[in-house]
């Protein structure tokens, strides 16, 4: 598959800011907007930012229109989703990708935005960025090292991340396209046209606020759907605020994952900085990366 990489950004380029899913108060986007301006970009604030329709940042039609306008506007070079929550899959099949196909642009976000990340990869063969959104800027400030990885990714420089050794890591070296994101959303995409072909890919997973048994069930769902059988490698990020049932599951999250992928020989890296917490780096979906898991740690490096 030939992957389309949207043009990287230059100073003076415009980034569109939208809320395609859950509601976010406008004041929570100010740090993000100021930071993007400080980095030399113009910011086009979409109608859905600060807009609210109950749970969502607008009705389906409003969220769709805001995203569609940003996709179709040739002066917008990238689209940063301010927040996830829930709502992308309610509009993904209504999007008209014609203008985007001619002029691909970077789409940025994680959590519920995993819908777009994987849909773009699988259906439009186009890369996007799994990375920090407005809430992360709001909490950590624009100078935070994890936030700055987004700036680097947008500039077109090759990405490279190192992490400390983790006792459960399974060693190996492998190259492949990077796919993945939020586990609940990947489970949600199973059986739909948006689920990525994971063969020989490096799959990364993170989640938040799930029950332990449900994490097990979702992994089993991916496995029984054949999505883990031919992976190149697996990268496990944070699973924050996981909940347990009254009678405990008896294993922690990483043990659950380890148990589920025990039959496979691909390398597995635990504790990678991709999560709903501060530790969440920018990752280019679909782009070929090298993954090295050794006793000295983990290196994930964008291929030359």
């Amino acid at each position: 598959m030939i992957l389309k990489t949207p043009p990287y950004l230059k100073k003076g380029d415009t980034i569109g800011l939208i809320c395609p899913a859950g509601f976010m108060p406008a004041e929570n986007t100010t740090v993000c907007i100021e930071t993007l301006k400080k980095w030399g970009f113009n910011v086009e604030v979409g109608k859905t930012v600060g807009h609210q329709s109950h749970y969502f940042s607008g009705e389906d039609a409003e969220r769709l229109q805001d995203l569609q306008d940003m996709l179709d506007d040739p002066s917008v070079c990238a689209i940063l989703c301010a927040r996830g929550g829930y709502g992308c899959s309610r509009i993904v099949d209504e999007i008209n990708w014609n203008a985007f196909r001619k002029n691909p642009k970077w789409l940025i976000g994680f959590s519920d935005i995993t819908v777009f990340n994987n849909h773009l990869y699988q259906k439009l063969k186009t890369s996007s960025i799994h990375g920090p959104m407005a809430g992360a800027f709001h909490k950590a400030g624009g100078e935070d090292a994890y936030i700055l990885t987004l700036r680097k990714a947008l500039s077109g420089r090759k990405m490279s991340y190192k992490t400390e050794p983790h006792g459960m890591n399974k060693f190996g070296k492998v190259s492949g396209p990077l796919v993945g994101g939020n586990l609940s959303i990947l489970a949600h995409l199973v059986g739909t046209p948006s689920f990525p072909d994971t063969k020989d890919c490096l799959l990364f997973l993170e989640d938040v606020g799930e029950y332990l048994y449900n994490v097990d069930r979702m992994l089993l769902q991916l496995d029984r759907a054949g999505k883990l059988h031919h992976l190149g490698g697996l990268i496990i990020g944070g699973f924050s605020d996981c909940k347990d049932t009254v009678v405990g599951f008896g294993k922690n999250i990483y043990e659950i994952i380890q148990n589920r992928v025990a039959p496979y020989s691909f390398p597995v890296a635990y504790g990678f900085p991709v999560s709903h917490e501060k530790e969440n780096v920018a990752l280019k979906i679909g782009v070929v990366h090298h993954l090295q898991v050794t006793k000295s740690g983990v290196v994930l490096r964008e291929a030359k």
Binding site: G22, F23, Q52, H54, Y55, Y86, S89, R90, D93, A187, H188, L189, V190, G191, T192, P193, S194, F195, Y213, D216, R217, M218, L220, Q221, R224, A225, G226, K227, H229, T245, V247, G248, F249, G250, K251
Partner: protein
């Protein structure tokens, strides 16, 4: 050429070979023929009780033992009753072995599950269904047990019973238990219930499939994926957020599972959780109706089944007539009805007693 035509052109041997390969998603055609029920029970028949998912105590299973014996059956407790490993009724291996032994035991005419919870899916691929296919017996349960309902429906087309389980029996026979007793003795199902005004009126016939929405969802794209084409779909769920219900239904819709239904029956959606921040203001009825608005098959809500009282027994995999009018719905079992689409070679191997049955 699509896969089905390809299989038909290859003839029976080709179809068999193609299907018997240990399969991942998409490698199997769903079994379309249904309606050959396992033998109904007579007094003196044995019912096994096992826990393929969550654990129950011996004490909790006692009510079901007493009641089944009052109905004239004999019961046999599996080794997983009263066993506990974490939240499960034993380790995966123990639960699989206990269930397997009951599937293989020709003396058992039905298997009543202890409870749902979580865990059926963890043992699914460890089970050998050969004996069950030759001598089908009733599998009885709901909630997490929907994993087995889906698998058996998709792979073998053998009817199963969606109903209350051993852990839910009480000392006095109630409506749920009476409906199960009647079903086990072969009394045709005929229910009429009051619905909500969200009904989409109409009359339809089809094979009933379904169960717990979360589990139907968890089977997606696997070998156990539920085939809903031309079927009446039943769904129920418990303790989910509204947005999660919405998300699961969007998954079914985006994967085409709601496109070709004959009808939709919605059971209990109970103990729905509230979102912390901004409420998802659509009601469950609105969330569901929105997904099927564009179609014209009958839709009816409020079926007395699921995580609620009563939880009336439903034979899945069998043909029914569903009639929805403004505020009332009727579900009536259709005897001797095998509305099969023309798939001769695949259908022929789905008949449980067929010697070539090699799925």
């Amino acid at each position: 050429m699509d896969r089905r035509n390809f299989l038909q052109k290859m003839g029976p041997l080709g179809a068999l070979a193609a299907i018997s390969v240990p399969a991942l998603a998409g490698d199997t055609e769903p079994v379309r023929a249904s309606g050959h029920p396992p033998p109904y029970l007579r007094e003196g028949d044995y019912i096994g009780i096992t826990c393929p998912a969550g654990a129950i105590d011996q004490r909790d299973a006692r009510y079901s033992e007493v009641m089944l014996e009052r109905w004239g059956f004999k019961t046999r407790f599996g080794s997983t009753i009263g066993r506990r490993w974490q939240q499960f009724g034993g380790t995966d291996a123990e639960r699989a072995a206990d269930f397997q032994q009951m599937l293989d035991d020709p003396n058992l005419k039905a298997i009543l599950f202890g409870r749902g919870g979580y865990g059926s899916m963890r043992i699914m691929d460890k089970l050998n269904w050969d004996a069950f296919k030759k001598n089908p017996k009733w599998l009885i349960g709901y909630s997490d047990i929907t994993a087995f309902h889906c698998h058996v429906s998709r792979c073998f087309g053998i009817p199963t019973i969606h109903s209350r389980m051993a852990g839910g029996f009480g000392s006095q026979e109630d409506q749920s238990e009476i409906s199960l007793r009647n079903t086990l003795f072969g009394k045709p199902i005929q229910y009429e219930w009051e619905t909500t005004t969200f009904n989409r009126p109409g009359k339809t016939q089809g094979i009933l499939v379904g169960g717990n929405l979360s589990l139907i969802y968890a089977m997606q794209a696997s070998i156990s994926e539920l085939d809903t084409d031309g079927k009446i779909l039943f769904i129920e769920d418990v303790s989910e957020y509204k947005y999660t219900v919405d998300r699961m239904l969007i998954n079914l819709k985006r994967s085409g599972k709601l496109d070709n239904l004959k009808g939709l029956i919605v059971g209990g959606f109970t103990s729905i959780k509230k979102e912390d921040i901004a409420y998802f203001t659509m009601s469950i009825e609105e969330i569901i109706y929105e997904k099927v608005m564009e179609f014209d098959y009958p839709v009816c809500f409020n079926f007395p089944g699921g995580h609620q009282q009563p939880n009336l027994a439903l034979k899945l995999g069998m043909a029914y007539e569903l009639e929805a009018i403004v505020s009332i719905a009727k579900l009536t079992e259709v005897r001797n009805a095998f509305p099969n689409p023309p798939l001769p070679f695949i259908d022929s191997i789905a008949i449980p007693h067929s010697p070539s049955s090699n799925l």
